[in-house]
């Protein structure tokens, strides 16, 4: 079974072959986990996302279009689940609204407390890495997803567009803005 290509596995799994499905889970579970972990910064929630993602894959085979890459479809399910979680977690106010009582540079994003549930691995991180992780955590959700897909999975802009169901031009703009956002965050601390 290990010799089979992704497409072959997907075909078998779609027909209800559980071994093929298990193989697919084995192949992709870490990728989904890493994506979720970087989005949510929480190990437990990330494992939930992995489970939920593959459960949805299993239940929705009939909605899968074979002309599409399996990984694209799977990432789409996973990112949607992550975004839902983030949405539920965060208080509901407009992040882009400028706050008058702060000095001009501040907006809602700076008020969101960093996710204090520090995962075990963060203890081992150098100061530099902690600064970077905080910068990533501070990214607005719509940039965060894209930056994580870009840097973690090294996906092309086109693939990210397919996953998030948005035009490549939008993805591009957001990558650029996200990169600028991070640069400004890191500017005084690292450069």
């Amino acid at each position: 079974m290990a010799e089979l290509s992704d497409a072959g596995l997907v075909k078998l799994a779609r027909k209800g072959n559980q071994d093929a499905f298990a193989e697919l889970v084995e192949l992709y579970k870490d990728k989904v986990f890493h994506l979720a972990y970087r989005m949510l910064n929480n190990r437990h929630e990330s494992e939930d996302i992995v489970q939920e993602t593959f459960l949805r894959v299993y239940k929705n085979w009939d909605k899968y279009d074979e002309n599409q890459k399996f990984s694209t479809w799977m990432y789409r399910i996973a990112t949607n689940l992550c975004i839902d979680r983030l949405r539920k977690r965060k208080p509901n106010f407009s992040l882009d609204a400028e706050l008058n009582d702060q000095d001009g540079t501040a907006d809602g994003y700076s008020l969101i407390p960093g996710d204090n549930r520090t995962p075990e691995s963060e203890f081992l991180l150098s100061e530099t890495q902690q600064i970077i992780h905080q910068a990533i955590a501070g990214l607005p959700a719509k940039y965060k997803t894209i930056m994580i897909l870009r840097y973690l999975q090294e996906l092309s802009l086109q693939e990210i567009g397919d996953i998030l169901n948005m035009p490549v031009t939008t993805v591009k703009t957001r990558v650029h803005r996200g990169r600028e956002f991070l640069r400004k965050r890191l500017e005084h601390k690292l450069f």
């Binding site: 209800g16 559980q18 499905f21 298990a22 889970v25 084995e26 579970k29 870490d30 986990f33 890493h34 972990y37 970087r38 190990r43 990330s46 494992e47 992995v50 489970q51 593959f54 459960l55 299993y58 239940k59 995962p119 075990e120 691995s121 081992l124 991180l125 530099t128 890495q129 970077i132 992780h133 990533i136 930056m147 994580i148 840097y151 973690l152 802009l157 591009k172 990558v175 650029h176 990169r179 600028e180 991070l182 640069r183 890191l186 500017e187 690292l190 450069f191």
Partner: protein, 205 residues
């Protein structure tokens, strides 16, 4: 080139999407503009740090995740092939159900009913002996004659159709039947008879 335009080209460059020609333009701008040079350097560093940091020290999902997923899969509902057919042909299914109900109801009537029934317009001349209906020699029955659950012996004349249901028909050499003489003793014939009869009866009422 203005710095703003240069910035957008820098991002394209970092995305590996900058055509050579524009790359040269950007380079010539960078040679002249210190702040843009710093900016590109910072962006490049951000990029590298991101690649490194995002991937660095990622925990892996626990080994149990696979088992949990596999044991949580919904039990496969093996859909019956006929169920799929039913879903695709609702009208045919309804028709089939109707026929089935008809079949059973009529069959039950057919089975339970063993009373002798004689139907006709001119029954005075018919003689009934036990389970046998006799059309005596020399008599002429005007119109149709129908006999259910009984044997029929015809010596005389029937001017219409003669139908014998679930019984035997004996025609003597002297018998004369102007219309059709039929014997119905099979379920399907019986049902067909019931159906056509129901419709004609309804039509004439």
């Amino acid at each position: 080139m203005e710095c703003k335009q240069a910035a957008s080209l820098m991002h394209d460059y970092l995305d590996n999407e900058l055509p050579e020609e524009q790359a040269l333009d950007l380079k010539s701008h960078l040679d002249r503009c210190v702040s843009c040079r710093t900016r590109l350097k910072e962006l490049e560093q951000t990029d590298m740090l991101m690649f490194a940091a995002v991937k660095h020290s990622l925990p892996s999902a626990s080994d149990d995740v696979l088992n949990q997923i596999m044991s949580n899969l919904p039990k496969k509902r093996r859909q019956q092939p006929w169920l799929g057919w039913v879903k695709r042909h609702p009208a045919l299914t309804a028709a089939a159900m109707f026929l089935l109900v008809m079949l059973f109801s009529t069959l039950s009537i057919w089975k339970s009913d063993d009373q002798l029934v004689v139907k006709g317009a001119d029954l005075d001349k018919v003689r009934i002996e036990g389970h046998t209906v006799i059309v005596p020699e020399g008599t002429a029955i005007a119109g149709d004659l129908t006999i259910e659950n009984g044997n029929t012996e015809v010596y005389g004349e029937v001017e219409g159709n003669l139908t014998v249901i679930d019984g035997s028909l004996y025609q003597a050499s002297t018998a004369k039947i102007a219309g059709d003489a039929k014997t119905i003793d099979q379920a399907l014939d019986w049902i067909w008879y019931r159906i056509t009869n129901t419709f004609t009866e309804v039509a004439y009422r």
